[in-house]
Amino acid sequence: MDSITKLVKNPWFLGCLVIIFMAVVMWNIPIEKRKYGLSQGSLVTDYTGLLPEHIERVVTAENRNDLQRIVKQANENGQKISIAGLQHSQGGHTYYKNGVVLDMRTFNRILDIDEQEKTIRVEAGATWEDVQEAIQPHGLALKVTQSQSIFTIGGSLSVNAHGRDIRFGSMAETVKEITLLTPEGEIKKVNRDDSDEWMKYVFGGYGLFGVILDVRLELTDNDLYTIHTEKLKTNEYASYFNRVLKQPDTAMHYARVSVAPSSFLDEMVVINYDHTENTDHKSVLKKEEGVRISKMALDAGRKGGTLENLFWAAQKRYIASLNRKEITRNNAMRSESTFMEYTKPGRVEVLQEFFVPVDSYDEYLTDLKDIIPANDKRHDFKVHNITVRYAAKDNFTTLNYAKEDMLGLVVLIQHGLKEEDITNAESLIQSWTNLTLEHGGTYYLPYYRYQTKEQFKSSYPNWQDFQEEKLRKDPNHVFQNMFYEYYVK
C-alpha cells in the first residue's frame, strides 16, 4: 500500500499519465474531411468543390408521391430539377443553377431480399454499405460495385460504375428491374425488355432521364477468396491480364502502376482474388483499417520525388504482405476511402479515369511518358496514383465508356486552384485525353470536365442519340445539371 502511495505521489506518475493520454489523443485525432455538398452555405458543390453554384432549394426525398408531385409541378412551372446521391461525382452532375435538388440520401430502405432468387430490392438512395449490411447475413454479395461502398445505388447506376469484378460485366447488367419516376412525372416499373428502352438511357444517364426510385439487383454468393499478388513490368501486363481473364479461378482483379520517379510507369503490382471452394456466412464486414498510417504514407507520396519512391516501395511491400490472405467478396468490395481525404487550402485533388483497349495498354503507357513528367516534385500538377481495372464491353448503355473490353486507369491528381494552375491541369488532361483517343480509348464522365466538348463527342459517339432521346423523354427539360449543360445541351 505504502509503495503505491509513494508511486502515486511521484510527479512522474502524473507525467506518465499525461504521456499515455497524449498518445491516446494522437491516435484518435480524426482525419479532416473535405467540406462539400448541399449544406455548404448559399452555394452548393460536389466532391471537389470546383463548381460552386447557387440553387433554389434542396428537397429531402422521403416518399415517392411527394417526389412525383414535385416533378409534375416542375413540368408546369418550368422549374429545373437535379438529383443528388452522395455527390461523389465531380463535375456539377448533381445540381443546376437556381434549380431544385432532390437529396436522395434519405430514400434508402431495403425493401426485400430474396435468398432463393439471389436478389435485393432497395431504394436508390441507399449506399452499397447499406446493401452489404443487409445481405451479408444471408451469405450474399453484390455482383458489381465500385472499389468502395461509399456511393448510393442511384448515383452508381447513373454513371454505370465499375470496380474490381471481372466476371459479371457492367453494373447495368446486374439490374433486373427499376422503379422510375419519369421526367413527365409517371412512376413506372422498367426492366430490360421494356420497349421504350428506359434503362439504356437511365443507366449512365447522369440523372437526366428521371429519378431511379428503387432497384432490384442480382446478387451472388459471398465467396471466400485467396488474395494473390505479383510484381510485373508494365509491358508484361496486357498479356498477363488476358491470361487471368481466361482462367475462371480469378473472380476479381486490379493493379497499380508506379508513379514514383524511379520506376515511373514501368513497374506494376497486380492483385487477384481467386476462388476458394468456400462461401462465407459468418465473418463480419470489415471497418476502415489503418487509415492514419495509410494517410501519412499517401501524404508523404503527395510530396513527390524521393518520398514518392518510398511511398511506392511501401505500397509494394504492403501489397506483397496480402499475398495468400483470405477475404470475402463483400470485404473485397469495401476498400478504405477516408485516407484519401485532402483538405489543403488552395489545392484540390481530383480523379480522372481513362479507358484503353486491353491490347493497346503497353503502347499507351509508353506514349504517356511523353505527356506526364516522371518526377512531379516541382510541378504544380502532380499524379499520385494510378489504379488499373477492367471494364468489360458494354453494349447496353448509350454513353458507354467500354465499347470493347477496356482497361481503366483511375488517376489521382492534385493541382493548385489559381487560374494558371487550372489552365495547366486542363491542358495536360486534354493532352492525356487526346492520347487516349488516339489509342481507341475513352474517358469517364463522373469526374470534373477538363476535357473539351469535341473530346466528349469523340469519346461518346452516341451522344447525339442521347441528346435526341433526352428531348423525347424529357420534353420540358425538367432534369438538368451542369454536366449536361457543359457537354450536351
Binding site: K9, N10, P11, L14, G15, L17, V18, F21, M22, V25, M26, N28, I29, P30, E32, D299, T343, K344, P345, G346
Partner: protein, 176 residues
C-alpha cells in the same frame, strides 16, 4: 517600492494568462476539427498542469525555481502559436504537444506563485485588473486572436529575460 519578480511579474503573468484566455480559446476552437478534439486538448492541458504543479511541489531546491525559463517557455509556446499556419493539415498533432507544454509550465508557475507571500493579494488584484482589461478589450475589434496571443508571448519572453537578470540580485521572500 522595489520592483521585484515576486511583486509584479507573477501578477503580469497571471493577469495576462486570464486576459489571453478568450483569444486562446477562439484559436483552439478554430484549430480543433471537432468539439471532442477541442475537449481532449483541454483535458491534456489540465492533466499536464497537474503534473507541472506536482513537479514544483516535490522540488527539493525551491530557491532555484528557474522561473525565467518557465516564462520564456510559455512565451515561446504562444509565439509559436502565432506563427503556425492554421491551414496546416497536421496542425492537431502540433497543437497537442503545445497544450501539454503550456499545461506543465502553467501548473509549475501556479505552484510557485501559490507559495509566495503576494499570492492572495495578487488573486484579488488580478480579478480586478482582468475585469477592467476585458472591458477595455471589448472595444477592440479582434482582427485575429493570434495577434494578441503573439503579443502576449513576447511579453512573457520579456518577463523571462527580466527575471533572468534579476536572479541573484534579489532574494525571494518566502511564506512562513
Amino acid at each position: 517600492m522595489k520592483f521585484n519578480s515576486t511583486r509584479y511579474l507573477p501578477l503580469v503573468v497571471t493577469v495576462g494568462q486570464v486576459v489571453i484566455f478568450p483569444y486562446y480559446i477562439i484559436w483552439l476552437k478554430q484549430v480543433s476539427l471537432t468539439f471532442t478534439l477541442f475537449a481532449w486538448f483541454f483535458a491534456a492541458f489540465s492533466f499536464a498542469a497537474a503534473w507541472g504543479y506536482r513537479i514544483y511541489q516535490t522540488k527539493k531546491n525551491k530557491e532555484r525555481s528557474l522561473l525565467f525559463m518557465i516564462f520564456v517557455g510559455m512565451g515561446v509556446v504562444y509565439i509559436v502559436i502565432g506563427f503556425i499556419k492554421n491551414s496546416y493539415e497536421y496542425l492537431p498533432y502540433v497543437v497537442l504537444p503545445l497544450q501539454v507544454i503550456l499545461g506543465v509550465l502553467q501548473g509549475y508557475f501556479r505552484a510557485w506563485h501559490s507559495e509566495q507571500d503576494t499570492y492572495h493579494l495578487h488573486a484579488v488584484h488580478h480579478y480586478m485588473i482582468v475585469g477592467f482589461m476585458m472591458i477595455g478589450f471589448s472595444f477592440v475589434k479582434i482582427i485575429s486572436p493570434v495577434v494578441f496571443i503573439t503579443i502576449f508571448g513576447a511579453l512573457l519572453c520579456i518577463c523571462g529575460v527580466w527575471e533572468f537578470f534579476r536572479i541573484g540580485k534579489l532574494s525571494v521572500p518566502k511564506k512562513v
